[in-house]
Structures are given as structure tokens and as C-alpha cells.
Symmetry: C2
DNA sequence: ATAATTAAAGACAAAAATATCTTTAATTAT
DNA sequence: ATAATTAAAGATATTTTTGTCTTTAATTAT
């Protein structure tokens, strides 16, 4: 469904949301370990997610690292997809046609649009914080151990 | 959702199902034109789909080309995904975790599994023929014109 | 038989995605 | 001020995906 980059982005974001705060930041090593992601590659992805401190914030130097504000934690999961430029997965034609629409549907259009709408709703209503809470409560996991 | 290869495979299969029969075969050019796909690349993909004549059949030489038997046309759309080795899209964890399961779910697992099940059902119940009929009846389209 | 036609097979090329490594800049603690 | 620490930025490498081109083999019509 998503690229590796986006999978790593989602996992890192959820982990940072759960573990960090403005006075408790996380290093790249801790994040990549906890989410089973390649550290250097994850660092690159976090550079994107910290652009404009939109989703993730960071500070350099000793005791620095990555963290999220409470405000950012309350963003919908879809914001991560938007930044990673994978929101299109939620909109595209399942057969890859550019002009697939109600007026000129592909043969899977009418059935797939119902599923697509549920995907959109899921990513737009679920917040990052909600996913993070499930991990904190031990109801969900973010690694492969 | 799917790779370009699989998108081309699905479009080509649906087109061949609609236009061909054992005594009316289609050339690669006709297929790639009708489905807005790169001809040489599509030829490669058809080589996979014709392996063992499982889904698509072909004969070489004059008046040769690609076609489908009535039996093959009645296969579920999922058979194309299986051959293209993209059936995993219907099974994988949306966050890319290898060990995501009921016992050790990712934080999106419980909500996403409902959507995933609908995708599986869609691809397993819909037949290639059904999609092809929609095109024949002018209810659906397979190109970008 | 021969020539024409068509897909199959294989080699190659380009682009994109994934991953790593090194250098730089910012921040902090001392 | 200095040294240590950390992310940012940039360069490079590897792998995968996508795409093209050429040669081969099969089939058919003449």
C-alpha cells in the first residue's frame, strides 16, 4: 500500500508521539531501534517530517533530539501521508488510470470507491495520539520483536 | 496501491477478456494502445500472464496474438494479482510490520483489517469477465482518452 | 520451401526508491 | 571559550522498478 519511506515515517511518528515531550527528546538511534527502521534512512525521513516543525520538532546538540508537541500529537494520521506525498494513494484509481472518475469510471471504480472512502475516513479521523495511546496501554506494538 | 506492472497487467487482462476469443486474437500493439501502456513493457508482463496459459493464452505467427478462453475469463480478478505476486498487498500490515497479527497488532490493525477484508472479498468475488462486460456495455473504460 | 508475421526471450538502459556515509551547523555543558 | 553532542545537509552507493531494443523461435500463408 505505502512505500517503505512512508511506513518508516508512520512508525517513527507514532513512536515519537508516545515517548517524547518538549522536555524529553529522542535520538535517532532510539527511534530507529524501536521501530525496526534503518537509522540513516530514518534520519532522512525525519528531516522531511520536521520541515517547518509541522509534525515533528527537533533540536540539535546535547540533550537534543526529536519530539512532538501536544498540538502535533492531535493531528490526524493523514497529515503524515500528506507530508510524505502519499496522500494520492487514498485518491488514485486502483487500475492506475489518470482520468478515472464518476463520469468515466474504470471497471472497478464503483466498488472500490466505497473502500477508498473508508481508508480516507480512517486516516482523517484517527489521530497520531490515539495510535500512540494504544502502544502505551500495551494494546498495540510498533516493532517486530 | 499496486505497482505499474500490476496496473498494466490488470488493464491488459480486462481488455483481452473483452475483445478476444479463441478465434480472434489481439496483437501486443492493439493491447498496449487500448490500455495506455508502454508496448514493450506490456509485452514482458504478458509473458508472465501467459506462463502455463493460466490466465492469458497466446500463439505466435501470422494471425497469432493473445486471447483468453471462456474458462480463464471466469477467473476472479485476484488470480492476476497472484501471478503478479502482488497478492501480498491484500495481506500485509499497513505499517509494514512483519509480525503484525491478532496476537501482536500494530496500532492500525483492528481498524484496517475490516477494510483489508473488503479488498480481499472484492478481488476474490469479482471475475475478470464481469469487469470486461462493464466495458463492453459502455459502463466503464480502460484507457485515458 | 520461403517469406512474412507474431510472440518469446534476453540484453540493456534509465529512473526511482532505498540505504549508507561524511561533513557541517547548531546547541549545550563544562 | 572549548569540547562534546546532536540533528541537518549533502554526497554517494545499491537495489528495484520501469522501460526499451535486439535477437530468436514458432506459426502461417503463399
Amino acid at each position: 500500500m505505502f512505500s517503505k519511506s512512508t511506513e518508516y515515517a508512520l512508525r517513527a511518528t507514532i513512536y515519537i508521539a508516545q515517548k517524547s515531550s518538549e522536555n524529553c527528546k529522542l535520538g535517532i538511534k532510539a527511534i530507529s531501534d524501536a521501530t525496526d527502521s534503518p537509522p540513516h534512512f530514518t534520519a532522512k525521513i525525519l528531516q522531511v517530517l520536521t520541515k517547518n516543525n509541522k509534525i515533528i520538532s527537533s533540536v540539535r546538540g546535547p540533550n537534543g533530539g526529536f519530539y512532538m508537541t501536544e498540538e502535533a500529537k492531535s493531528l490526524p494520521v493523514r497529515s503524515v501521508l500528506d507530508v510524505m506525498e502519499e496522500d494520492s494513494v487514498l485518491e488514485r484509481c486502483i487500475l492506475g488510470l489518470n482520468k478515472c472518475s464518476e463520469a468515466k469510471p474504470c471497471p472497478m471504480h464503483s466498488q472500490y470507491k466505497l473502500i477508498k472512502q473508508q481508508l480516507i475516513t480512517l486516516f482523517e479521523t484517527k489521530t497520531i495520539m490515539e495510535l500512540a495511546s494504544d502502544i502505551r496501554d500495551g494494546e498495540a506494538f510498533i516493532n517486530n520483536d
